[in-house]
């Protein structure tokens, strides 16, 4: 009797002990993740005077909105957000569609050689984009489909750089950012669909296109949500391709952030000479810019995170 009670007590202690450890761990890790954001938030509203005051760490003594408003003006923020948002949304829709089509074909519409092609799709993930960046750049500098334009008009093809076109064309042809990974995800999900579902659709007179749109896609909603969110976010944050294709235009937030150093110097001192500007203030303004770039994503994430977290767990990522 006593032994049983002792056992029950140790059980209870163990359970509670683990609960405490778990809370501490999760709280600590969450703090580590949120720390840089909190730190940027704290800095964003500080007057430059507070920067030199060693008593001010987190809560500003002289609250000011000037940092934020001046960076909004410098980055041409509204315009850049609209541009970044539209390109990310466009790429998101196009890429999800193309990858779903390809994934379905690889999963359910097998033909001779399709497994070799799937191997090729996986291979595209493995080759780093840096390996092919120069030929890609040249490709878009004078865009030509296998020399057809040259053949017909004698010109060198279209100049597509400094526009949205390279990003749209790459995602439209399943070669966008991490497209291979998305094709893989869709293939896994569609492979899990029962064959009976297709057959029932066929018996009821649905063609292959209709089976795809009306039966397969609704069953793959979690994968679609995941792929859409990832595409959007990775496109939003991408600097490699955006700087390569449209670095001169300064239309996107990523472009602006990567060249903003001299601009900030210019704004503070009226000259681009780095030595004149106060490095602390430059650093502060850069942090504000990063905050401005992140904030639309964070706001969006607040709305979709619940759905996203649930969706991801149900995608076929499990392999």
């Amino acid at each position: 009797m006593n032994a049983l009670r002792l056992n029950a007590i140790t059980e209870k202690v163990k359970r509670w002990g683990w609960a405490v450890v778990r809370i501490v761990l999760i709280f600590g890790l969450s703090f580590v993740i949120l720390y840089p954001i909190l730190q940027k938030l704290a800095v964003a509203f500080k007057d430059p005077v507070d920067l030199y005051n060693r008593n001010v760490v987190w809560i500003p003594e002289h609250f000011t909105l000037r940092n934020v408003t001046s960076m909004i003006k410098l980055l041409d923020y509204e315009w850049a957000v609209v541009n970044t948002f539209s390109i990310s949304a466009g790429v998101m829709i196009v890429q999800t569609m193309i990858c779903a089509l390809a994934g379905y074909a690889f999963a359910k519409l097998r033909f001779r050689g399709s497994s070799i092609l799937f191997g090729c799709a996986i291979f595209t993930i493995l080759v780093p984009p840096q390996t092919i960046m120069v030929p890609l750049y040249m490709q878009f500098k004078s865009f030509d489909v296998f020399g057809i334009v040259h053949l017909l008009t004698g010109k060198d093809g279209f100049y597509l750089l400094d526009s949205f076109w390279p990003l749209l064309v790459t995602s439209l042809t399943g070669m966008g950012i991490k497209s291979g990974l998305f094709i893989y995800i869709f293939r896994q999900v569609f492979r899990g669909l029962p064959k009976e579902l297709e057959e029932a659709g066929f018996v009821d007179g649905a063609g292959i296109g209709r089976t795809f749109v009306q039966l397969a896609l609704p069953n793959a909603v979690p994968a679609i949500v995941t792929v859409m969110l990832f595409t959007f976010v990775w496109q939003w944050n991408d600097t490699f391709f955006t700087n390569m294709y449209m670095g001169n235009t300064g239309m996107l937030l990523a472009n602006k952030l990567s060249v903003m150093g001299p601009w900030i110097n210019h704004m503070l001192t009226g000259s681009t000479n780095v030595i004149l500007a106060d490095p602390f203030q430059v650093s502060l303004l850069k942090d504000v810019a990063v905050l401005l770039m992140m904030s639309p994503l964070i706001i969006m994430y607040l709305f979709v995170q619940k759905y996203f977290v649930e969706s991801v767990e149900r995608t076929g990522l499990t392999g």
Binding site: V32, S114, Q305, L317
Partner: protein, 307 residues
């Protein structure tokens, strides 16, 4: 001539081709052709013609030799990138498996914790990291919070505001050897980097954990297995295929943004030496592909598949 209606199987095959047309188009035009070109570039010197276009002046493997033997920083950057990868992959894997099992348990505030843990997936990006790392403000604030006058450049700490001095002493007293101590304390110092690059891996593990049938756990509980045994005999084997997925993903992810890719980028677009840049990235690709093959081979031998 009479058209025979295609059989269902045939129609499926043809629509498969149809569905793949956009991808096939992109694969040849925007992947195979550039891949072939870049191989050509790496074997020669690109000469721009004044009337537009270019010719390649083939020089054999001179670009490769130059990068390896004469270039000021290529060797260092290459080894650093590869070593960083080798150091980080086990840490990321371990951490993400740990975080996923933590997030898989039932507790108060779980959905909030999950939302926070996936935040790095949303925010991880080259430009944000680059600017945050050079932020003077962050190191100053850290110095003030922890009342230390050492800036992050001197201590080599990341901006996460965590320090591991105590940990080093603790581990030393516990009798671990120097390498292990450095590895572990280094991991603690870089905890933010590790967390921020393990978002997707946590997702993958979490999905795997959710797909383990609860009946397995019930059965083992009835048999009297401890939590420790349950983890090593059930959870670990069941998620082991995902370890392979995650190793591969982590290695590939390190392509996306590191010093070497930066170097290749500036070599191409700032110094306009396209041949050298192509050679640099080809060597990097070959090394990483070899690493991938070795790791995949070793891991896949130990992976347990339930079906």
């Amino acid at each position: 001539m009479k058209w025979k209606p295609l059989s269902f199987e045939r129609r499926k095959q043809w629509s498969g081709v149809l569905f793949l047309i956009p991808w096939l188009f992109g694969f040849t035009l925007l992947f195979l052709v550039p891949l072939f070109r870049s191989l050509q570039f790496s074997l020669g010197k690109l000469v721009m013609l004044p009337e537009g276009g270019y010719v390649i002046d083939f020089t054999g493997f001179r670009n490769f030799a130059y990068a390896l033997t004469e270039h000021a920083e290529y060797n260092r950057v290459l080894t650093e990138s590869v070593v960083d990868m080798a150091v980080n992959v086990p840490l990321i894997l371990f951490f993400s498996l740990f975080a996923a099992s933590l997030l898989n348990q039932k507790f108060f505030g779980r959905s909030l914790a999950r939302a926070i843990f996936f935040l790095p997936v949303i925010l991880a990006s080259g430009i944000i990291d680059a600017i945050s790392n050079e932020s003077i403000i962050a190191s100053v604030m850290q110095g003030m919070t922890y009342s230390s006058d050492l800036s992050s450049d001197i201590t080599g700490l990341s901006t996460s505001g965590l320090q591991s001095f105590e940990l080093v002493f603790l581990l030393h007293d516990a009798g671990l050897n120097e390498t292990m101590i450095n590895y572990l304390s280094g991991a603690v110092d870089r905890i933010y980097d590790i967390i921020s690059s393990s978002g997707v891996q946590i997702l993958i593990f979490l999905a795997g954990l959710q797909s383990i049938s609860p009946s397995l756990y019930e059965a083992s509980k009835i048999e009297g297995a401890t939590g420790y045994e349950i983890f090593w005999k059930i959870t670990f084997p069941m998620v082991s295929p995902l370890i392979l997925t995650n190793v591969i993903y982590t290695i590939i992810d390190s392509f996306a943004d590191n010093e070497l890719t930066q170097l290749a980028y500036t070599t191409a677009f700032s110094t306009l030496d396209f041949g050298l840049s192509a050679a640099m990235s080809w060597m990097y690709f070959i090394i990483v592909a070899l690493l991938l093959a070795i790791v995949a081979y070793i891991v896949s031998k130990r992976v347990y598949y339930s079906d």
